[in-house]
C-alpha cells in the first residue's frame, strides 16, 4: 500500500473483526477490544501486529499496547502512514 494512501476505516474494521473472530458490526468505533469484546490481551496485541504488517508500519511496543479500540487503532495507524 503506498504511503500516501489513507487508511480505509471500514477495511480496518473488517480486519480487526477477522483477527478477533467477531462479527464486523460488533466492532464499534469505541468498542473496547478487551473489556467489551472479551478478548485477551494477547489477542489485542495480535490485532496490532496484523495491522502493522498489513499497512507496512512499525509500531513501538508501548504503542501496540495502547490500542484498545478501533478509533485508537485508526488514529495511530493514520498518523504512522502519514509520517512514513
Amino acid at each position: 500500500m503506498p504511503n500516501s494512501t489513507l487508511i480505509d476505516k471500514e477495511e480496518l474494521r473488517t480486519t480487526v473483526a477477522e483477527v478477533l473472530d467477531v462479527e464486523v458490526d460488533e466492532v464499534g468505533d469505541e468498542t473496547r477490544f478487551i473489556e467489551d469484546l472479551e478478548v485477551d490481551s494477547l489477542m489485542a496485541l495480535e490485532v496490532m501486529v496484523v495491522l502493522e504488517k498489513k499497512y507496512h508500519v512499525k509500531l513501538d511496543e508501548s504503542e501496540l499496547k495502547e490500542v484498545t479500540c478501533l478509533n485508537a487503532a485508526y488514529g495511530l495507524l493514520t498518523g504512522k502512514v502519514r509520517a512514513a
Binding site: 485477551d40 494477547l42 501486529v49
Partner: protein, 345 residues
C-alpha cells in the same frame, strides 16, 4: 442447546460394531463422550485422566493438558458429529470411530484461542456448532465447526475448524523452501536441551539450521510409537501433533539463546493462539517432517511466528500465525482445589 438429546446407540455394521477395528490414531488414550447430538450442534465431555500418557511429558513435574489435546478433543467430537450428519451410518461415539473412506479430514484449524490452563482431573466440556455439512462437498463428509471448550474454571479454548471429505487434500503444496536460502547450519543443541517437553510429547528430533530468534529449520520423524492410541500405517497421523511438532520448532527458535528445559523454573512458553493452520496433505507414521518457522514479530513477552512443514518437499502444513506468550512459571501455578464438579449434563 436444549433439550439435550442423548446420542443414539451406534448402528450395527462394520463401523458401529467397533469390534476388532483399530480406533483412530490419537495422542489421547481417553476419548470424549458425545452427550448431545442434534442438527448443527453437538456436545461432548472429556475428563483428563491423571494418568493420560501425554501428561508425563507435558511437563515433567508440572502436568498440564496440552492445548493441541484440547483441539484433539474437539476434533474427535467433530468427526463423530460430522459422520452422523453425513448419514453414512457411522458410529455416534468418538471412541467407536475408525479410519475409513467416509470420515471427514481436518483441512484447517482456522482459529484457536487458548484461554486458560487445564490440569489433570479437570473435566472439559465442548460445545460444537456445525455448519456447511452435506452441501459443500460431494460426499457430505465435510463442514465447518466452531467449538467452545470449558473447564472447571471457565472457558479454556475457542476453536474454528474446517473439514473436507477424505482424500480431497489440497494435493502437493508448493514444496521446496519456505524462504530462499536457509539460515546457517545449527550445531550442538538438541531439542531436549532447549524445550521442557519430554516423551511422549517431545516431538522434535533435531535443529538443522537456525538464525536465533528469527528463523529455524527443524526435523521430526512421526514414528507413531509416541501415540497413546497408535494405528496402522494406512491411518493418517493426527494433524494436531504435526502442528504441535511445528510449534516446538518455533519454541526452539525462540529459546535458542535462552534454553528453558525445565518448565518449573524461569519463563514458560504458553500457546496463545493459532490462525490459519492448513493441513494440506496427510502425514503417515514413519515420515520425516521438515519444519520451517520464521518470526513475524517479537515483543518483550510475546512472539508471533509463521511458516510451513513438508515431507520430502511436499507441503503438509502451512501456518499463518501462531502466538506464543512467555510467562513466569509462577503465573501457571495450579490453583487450589478445583470447585466441586457440576453433575454431568
Amino acid at each position: 442447546m436444549s433439550p439435550i438429546v442423548q446420542a443414539p446407540a451406534p448402528p450395527a455394521g462394520p463401523l458401529g460394531s467397533a469390534g476388532g477395528l483399530a480406533g483412530l490414531p490419537s495422542p489421547l488414550r481417553g476419548r470424549p463422550r458425545l452427550t448431545a447430538l442434534e442438527a448443527g450442534r453437538a456436545r461432548s465431555t472429556y475428563v483428563v485422566a491423571p494418568d493420560e500418557p501425554v501428561l508425563a511429558g507435558h511437563y515433567p513435574g508440572f502436568p498440564i493438558f496440552p492445548g493441541v489435546c484440547l483441539v484433539e478433543c474437539a476434533h474427535l467430537t467433530a468427526r463423530a458429529a460430522l459422520a452422523a450428519a453425513a448419514g453414512t451410518g457411522g458410529p455416534a461415539q468418538p471412541a467407536e470411530l475408525a479410519e475409513s473412506a467416509e470420515l471427514a479430514e481436518l483441512a484447517e484449524l482456522a482459529s484457536a484461542r487458548f484461554l486458560g490452563p487445564v490440569f489433570p482431573g479437570d473435566r472439559v466440556d465442548a460445545e460444537l456448532a456445525i455448519t456447511g455439512t452435506g452441501t459443500e462437498t460431494e460426499t457430505g463428509a465435510g463442514g465447518r465447526v466452531a467449538a467452545t471448550l470449558s473447564g472447571p474454571r471457565g472457558e479454556v479454548a475457542r476453536l474454528r475448524m474446517v473439514y473436507r471429505e477424505p482424500g480431497a487434500g489440497a494435493g502437493p503444496g508448493p514444496g521446496g523452501g519456505y524462504w530462499a536460502g536457509d539460515p546457517p547450519p545449527a550445531g550442538g543443541r538438541a531439542p531436549r536441551d532447549l524445550l521442557p517437553h519430554r516423551p511422549p510429547m517431545l516431538l522434535l528430533d533435531a535443529v538443522t539450521a537456525v538464525e536465533p530468534g528469527q528463523r529455524i529449520v527443524a526435523t521430526w520423524t512421526a514414528r507413531g510409537e509416541e501415540l497413546a492410541s497408535p494405528a496402522g500405517p494406512s491411518a493418517a497421523y493426527p494433524p494436531v501433533l504435526v502442528l504441535e511438532s511445528w510449534c516446538q520448532a518455533a519454541g526452539a527458535m525462540v529459546t535458542w539463546d535462552q534454553p528453558n528445559p525445565d518448565v518449573t523454573a524461569g519463563a514458560v512458553m504458553l500457546f496463545g493462539g493459532v490462525s490459519a493452520a492448513a493441513f494440506t496433505g496427510p502425514v503417515y507414521a514413519g515420515e520425516r517432517l521438515e519444519h520451517r518457522v520464521t518470526l513475524t514479530r517479537a515483543l518483550t513477552d510475546t512472539v508471533i511466528v509463521e511458516g510451513a512443514a513438508a515431507v520430502g518437499g511436499r507441503t503438509v502444513l502451512t501456518v499463518g500465525r501462531v502466538t506464543m506468550a512467555l510467562r513466569p512459571a509462577g503465573t501457571l501455578a495450579r490453583p487450589g482445589p478445583a470447585p466441586a464438579p457440576e453433575p454431568a449434563p
